[in-house]
């Protein structure tokens, strides 16, 4: 009843090709944007910003990057965190060595460096496919982290290995409070998400999906797999690089290699599996899920602890978290391989008919 499309006719291809062709969807998105940009900054607590919203947005950006590479272009990658690290350290070096460089330019530069490294480690994908490629990306993960730890120049010969990220300042305005950081991150992520949506709808997105689905046929119709694959690695790594820089500057406050370990790569992979491979929305849903889940678990464990007096050790919570993640991955792959995004799509389709059953 609420979600009827009836009466909404598209008379131009432009209207049909819009991101949100249905009016109710557009209203919904407008509402979300208002909540995100206006309501939340006014009402949320600093904890909410720092522990949930900001990491959720930043990791969603990284998940977007991985989704472009793995979901759309079909190149499995286990080295996401390493590309984030490249972005973080490159941004740090740009800020350090080019005095007066604008913050956003440094972040973009970090992304570009990550893209370059991404292309380098993407070259094997021209010969290798499937889980062989996954192992090759593991090489990237371990090698890059080793490099960033060992090569002194990168860390400016820092003896402790942990660099403090200086505050974010754009045009003289300092983004210090959680609220301000949140708004900055939100803006960057929203713009990049829009760009990703446009790319995946357009010709390059179709090229990526063609490579993913049947690359021999793609070649026959004139798509160059080499170019498309390397571009996928480049764009994906750019997104991960920017996410990495934001991770350091807007979330952790430090620039250190250990933050970008294999575990983070797996978490981001889990995000896109649970959220929905090959969708833009999936990156956000998955990120929200993975960021919020440990917090929910901790609350549940504490609750059980208090009410049932089980005196549960903290390690139990983290182990249960591992089991829940693992179990959920398997559950989603069995029940809904296309993840939360598909569940959302099905819900919308049911909403179209509501209150009628069919």
């Amino acid at each position: 009843m609420l979600y009827r499309e009836a009466g909404q006719f598209k008379s131009t291809y432009a209207a049909d090709a819009a991101i949100l062709p249905i009016r109710q969807d557009r209203i919904g998105l407008a509402l979300i944007l208002v909540v995100a940009f206006v309501v939340i900054p006014l009402t949320a607590t600093p904890y909410l910003f720092s522990a949930i919203l900001i990491p959720c947005l930043i990791l969603a950006l990284a998940a977007l990057g991985l989704n472009i590479l793995t979901g759309y272009a079909g190149q499995l990658s286990l080295g996401t965190a390493a590309f984030m690290a490249v972005g973080a350290f490159a941004s740090y070096n740009f800020l350090l060595r080019i005095p007066g460089i604008p913050l956003l330019l440094a972040f973009a530069g970090g992304g570009v460096m990550a893209a370059a490294v991404g292309i380098l480690f993407g070259l094997p994908s021209l010969r290798i496919r499937g889980f062989y490629l996954a192992v090759a990306t593991l090489a990237a993960q371990f090698f890059i982290l080793w490099f960033l730890t060992k090569v002194g120049w990168v860390t400016n010969y820092n003896s402790s290995g942990v660099i403090t990220a200086r505050g974010m300042v754009i045009a003289g305005y300092a983004f210090d409070s959680p609220q301000e950081k949140y708004l900055l991150v939100l803006t960057i992520v929203t713009l990049l998400a829009l760009a990703a949506k446009n790319m995946t709808r357009g010709n390059i997105g179709r090229q990526w999906m063609a490579i993913r689905d049947m690359d021999v046929a793609a070649e026959v119709i004139g798509i160059r797999p080499v170019r498309a694959k390397l571009l996928a690695f480049a764009v994906s790594s750019f997104y991960c690089g920017v996410a990495g820089a934001l991770y350091a500057y807007a979330y952790l406050g430090t620039v250190e290699p250990e933050a970008y370990n294999l575990d983070l790569s797996f978490r981001i992979l889990f995000m896109i599996i649970i959220g929905g491979i090959g969708t833009i929305l999936g990156a956000f849903l998955g990120s929200a899920f993975i960021v919020v889940m440990p917090i929910v678990l901790t609350i549940v464990v504490h609750f059980l602890d208090d009410t049932l007096h089980l005196s549960v050790a903290s390690s139990v919570a983290s182990n249960v978290e591992l089991m829940v993640f693992g179990g959920l991955i398997i559950f989603f792959l069995i029940v809904e391989p296309h993840g939360l995004a598909r569940i959302w799509q099905i819900t919308k389709e049911k909403l179209r008919l509501w209150p009628f059953p069919h």
Binding site: Y13, A14, A17, A195, A196, N198, M199, G202, N203, I204, G205, R206, Q207, M209, A210, R212, D213, M214, V216, A217, A218, E219, V220, I221, G222, I223, R224, L231, V235, G278
Partner: protein, 269 residues
């Protein structure tokens, strides 16, 4: 009462040779798929390749469109002689094809699949596409219009937003034809376009193929098993058996050839 005068046959001007294959030999390891095959294709004609299973017909198409590289022989397309053609160059040269075991992109909708056929005509960079302004936007909409023409032509409007994987076999074959047509090819290679179809679907497909040939002037090379179809729509026929050419000429001549009858057609009892 006088019988109606015969309808004038549409005069397609069959032109000069545009594709020439000479002494093509292809082997996989020890298996010889093609041995010393020579034939040509004239512009605007419908050329059929027939023969028993395993004769090398699909391999022949694969050689023409650059998927396989023959060990011997040359291919001449529009005057350019080469040993084997790179897939990408073939596509640029205006050759498109469909596959025996449907090679559609299962994860995409019908519309997107056909749009991929327009890939070579799209020039906007990925950054322009990311921002969705100017050239990227105009190209996308212009090519969408063109693709819609093809969708109309092949009568698949009702399924344009359906993911291809969900379509029945016959419709998938039609979508594959649409994707090939989207490239506006001058030479169209069809690998068993009517396999697995019932009589009605076959008639539709024949009609589409003939329309494509007459309206757009596209040269067509097709592999087909249904003799009725072959005799009806093709101008000339090549017959392969065990990788060798055993017949080449117009349908009537081929049908009467002893070698072809022994190998493939059989004798009416």
């Amino acid at each position: 009462m006088q019988p109606d005068p015969p309808l004038p046959t549409p005069t397609r001007r069959i032109g000069d040779v545009i594709l020439s294959l000479e002494h093509i030999s292809l082997a996989f390891g020890g298996v010889k798929a093609l041995s010393d095959i020579t034939f040509d294709v004239r512009e605007h004609e419908v050329r059929a390749i027939i023969g028993p299973n395993g004769a090398g017909k699909s391999s022949m198409l694969n050689v023409i469109n650059g998927v396989y590289r023959p060990q011997q022989g040359t291919i001449t397309y529009r005057g350019r002689v080469r040993r084997g053609m790179d897939s990408h160059d073939v596509a640029v040269a205006g050759i498109a094809r469909t596959f025996q075991n449907i090679a559609l992109f299962k994860g995409m909708t019908v519309l997107d699949n056909i749009m991929t056929g327009r890939n070579l005509k799209m020039h906007a960079s990925f950054i322009e596409q990311a921002i969705w302004i100017g050239r990227a936007r105009r190209e996308e909409l212009a090519h969408r219009a063109k693709v819609e023409e093809i969708i109309d032509f092949l009568e698949i409007q009702h399924i344009r937003k359906t993911p291809v994987g969900r379509l029945p076999y016959g419709l998938q074959k039609r979508v594959e034809l649409a994707r090939a047509l989207a490239a506006e090819p001058s030479l169209l290679l069809l690998d068993e376009p009517m396999a697995g179809m019932n009589v009605e679907e076959k008639q539709d497909m024949c009609r589409f193929i003939l329309d494509v040939n007459e309206q757009y002037g596209t040269t067509i090379v097709l592999i087909e098993h249904d003799m009725g179809v072959v005799m009806d729509i093709s101008d000339r026929v090549v017959v392969l058996d065990y990788g060798r050419k055993i017949g080449d000429g117009d349908p009537a001549a081929v049908r009467g050839s002893k070698a072809v009858i022994d190998a493939y057609l059989g004798v009416a009892h």
